[in-house]
């Protein structure tokens, strides 16, 4: 009889403990889920950023190579033949395809060419031409990539 009474008393004291355990467990799971979701979105952000950086790096490289392929006397305004130094802005979509305007653009590529010496707007043979390229995210102008190279007469 006494045993039965003690056990009943014990069970009485334990009443609600499972609920507390469950609540603690739910709390732990919730916290861990919040953390997991945070990590997941962070990873997603990193992944998106990486993808954008990758495209931006490719666009910057392409712009530099394009400037090189045009030769030392390349002008940013080729139709006039003068004013070779200047800035050219182009826009690209999320896949890196060239667009005609900024509408729907994901990336903005700004290429700036400056020469150490010009005569009548045309680079001298002795000039060192600096080609700078910056790639930004069009929507918020966030810098993604910047690159630079030199052009010289007879250079690589």
């Amino acid at each position: 009889m006494a045993l039965t009474t003690n056990r009943a008393q014990y069970l009485g004291r334990r009443r609600g403990l499972t609920m507390i355990e469950t609540l603690v467990a739910v709390m732990i799971i919730s916290i861990s889920m919040v953390g997991a979701i945070g990590i997941f979105f962070s990873a997603l952000t990193i992944n998106n950023w990486t993808a954008q950086r990758s495209v931006a790096a490719s666009l910057a490289r392409e712009a530099i190579e394009q400037a090189k392929s045009q030769g030392f006397y390349w002008c940013t305004t080729p139709q006039t033949g003068v004013g070779c130094d200047g800035t050219v802005t182009t826009y690209f979509d999320k896949n890196g395809s060239l667009l005609g305007s900024s509408a729907g653009a994901r990336y903005t590529v700004v290429m700036t060419v400056s020469s150490s010496s010009l005569t009548n707007g045309i680079p001298d043979n002795s000039a060192l031409r600096t080609v700078s390229v910056s790639v930004t995210r069009t929507i918020d102008n966030a810098a993604l990539e910047s690159s630079q190279t030199y052009l010289t007469w007879g250079g690589v």
Binding site: I28, S42, A43, N47, R53, N120, Y150
Partner: protein, 499 residues
């Protein structure tokens, strides 16, 4: 739990009415409850651990992907920066024409830096005008790539190998002019004649009847250039271009050809060498060039006389003749008169040695010079003789002088100052081309840009006078681009090559 409550459910604490069965059931329930205690917590911890592992994997994947992309980008960017270093060095060498120190600098518009150096083919530090091996390293963060290229001065002919008729729509060519004055060309008086093109970056002033006697085309080069008083010249023989011609200064040419430019040319070694090439006739019996008929002229090797070719010296020699054999000569003063004979022994008959060009380089003061002597080129090939006049002064060619060879008198070029002037007058006759800062022609002078009579267009650099005397303003990439394998790194390509 629906239906009738069990016996156990009816029990309460202190209920002494519990039957043995109920007590047994209660005992079982207590054991069961003890067994379940903490299972929810354990499950949640296990789930949390699984989640943590999964998220760790995801974050590791994302960051490693980002790192991989960055490293990949750095590899490409470091190569690009190394190439920028090559171009930087090429420009430095083209502008300075001197030894080229190792340069290390960061790229202000990119995350990275380059280090570049130039050597001769034998690995020694580069000296102008030798071909160069340029090595550049591009570094971006922890990635370094090294490339190597070969470079050489571009051989741009300043003088024409053949008579050139300028086409208005054609490419501008430094070697297409019989007469070119960077700053000014003035042709006045009667009976002047240029068989070839006349050009200037500024003013071409034509008067008299010269324009009816053989100008090729008068070319005003660049937006500042103009043709004055050229009304008699048909429009088909007048043209303008948008770009000024870029003729390098004589000092630049000297710097390209000699290690330290005019310093080398005026050195004791050079003066000794040229004294060993200046000859005279032995006696009065024969003035035919041969080793036996000629000997050294006892040209001074120190003092002003070592660089002065004048009437006083030449008139003291047999037949008033001085003989120059192939090679480079440095003079500060040149004053020869009508009775003097300057013999250009390009074929080297007087020594029996190998033929070659004769080049006179002039600099050192601003005293005017004059040439009124007889000048004979043994080979009759005017391409074999050059005067490079680097003085901001006037060299006058007068009194029926006939010079077979080119005179290049660009002392300042596009720079400031009047520069050098070549003044032709008194029926002076120049076979080949006159390229100068300023050119004046008066009274029956003639410049004839000739057809190629000597080398037939051959391109053997060792003997072709056009190649030997061709200069370029810039040094350029000639090929052999290759990536050098860094220590401890494998080859770039699977076939074992890295280029």
């Amino acid at each position: 739990m629906g239906g009738h409550p069990s016996t156990f459910d009816k029990l309460r604490v202190g209920d002494c009415r519990a039957s043995p069965e109920a007590q047994a059931e209660m005992k079982n329930r207590v054991r069961f409850t003890r067994k379940e205690r903490g299972s929810a917590l354990m499950s949640s911890l296990a789930l949390t651990a699984v989640l943590a592992l999964t998220m760790s994997g995801i974050s590791l994947l994302a960051t490693s992907h980002a790192n991989l992309q960055r490293t990949d980008g750095d590899y490409a960017l470091s190569m690009q920066i190394a190439e920028a270093g090559i171009n930087y060095e090429l420009n430095y060498m083209s502008v300075n024409h001197t030894t080229c120190p190792t340069t290390s600098t960061s790229m202000p518009g990119a995350v990275g830096s380059f280090s570049v150096s130039a050597t001769n083919a034998d690995g020694s530090a580069w000296t102008s005008p030798n071909p160069a091996i340029i090595t550049a390293s591009g570094t971006v963060r922890n990635v370094t790539r090294k490339i190597q290229v070969s470079a050489d001065f571009a051989k741009l002919p300043l003088f024409a190998a053949n008579a050139v008729v300028y086409a208005a729509s054609g490419t501008q060519d430094t070697a297409s002019y019989g007469v070119f004055g960077v700053k000014n060309v003035s042709i006045s008086g009667s009976a002047n004649c240029v068989y070839g093109n006349v050009g200037s970056n500024n003013t071409i002033s034509l008067s008299g009847d010269g324009e009816t006697k053989g100008y090729g085309v008068a070319v005003a080069c660049g937006p500042s250039a103009m043709i004055l008083n050229g009304g008699n010249l048909p429009s088909t023989r007048r043209t303008t271009t948008t770009t000024p011609m870029a003729y390098p200064a004589v000092s630049t040419l000297a710097a390209q050809k000699f290690t330290n430019g005019f310093t080398t040319l005026s050195s004791v070694a050079q003066l000794l060498a040229q004294a060993g090439r200046i000859r005279r006739f032995v006696g009065t019996s024969s003035y035919t060039l041969s080793p036996s008929n000629t000997t050294l002229a006892n040209w001074p090797i120190i003092g002003t006389g070592a660089t002065t070719l004048n009437h006083t010296f030449v008139s003291s020699l047999p037949n008033s003749s001085i003989i120059l054999t192939p090679g480079d000569y440095y003079l500060t003063n040149l004053t020869l008169q009508t009775q003097d004979n300057l013999i250009l022994d390009c074929q080297n008959l007087s020594t029996g040695g190998p033929p070659g060009q004769i080049n006179i380089w002039m600099a050192g003061n601003t005293t005017n010079d004059s040439f009124a002597a007889s000048c004979a080129g043994v080979s009759n090939d005017p391409k074999m003789f050059r005067i490079y006049y680097g003085k901001s002064a006037t060299i006058s060619v007068t009194a029926d002088s006939h010079i077979q060879g080119g005179i290049y008198a660009v002392a300042v070029g596009s720079g400031t100052g009047t520069g050098a002037t070549v003044s032709l007058s008194g029926n002076a006759n120049y076979t080949y081309a006159v390229l100068a800062d300023n050119v004046t022609m008066a009274s029956g002078t003639q410049v004839s840009l000739i057809n190629n009579t000597g080398d037939g267009g051959i391109s053997n650099p060792a003997v072709d006078p056009m190649i030997q005397s061709a200069f370029g303003v810039n040094i350029g990439f000639t090929g052999q681009w290759q990536e050098l394998v860094a220590a401890g790194r494998s080859r770039v390509f699977a076939d074992g090559s890295n280029n």
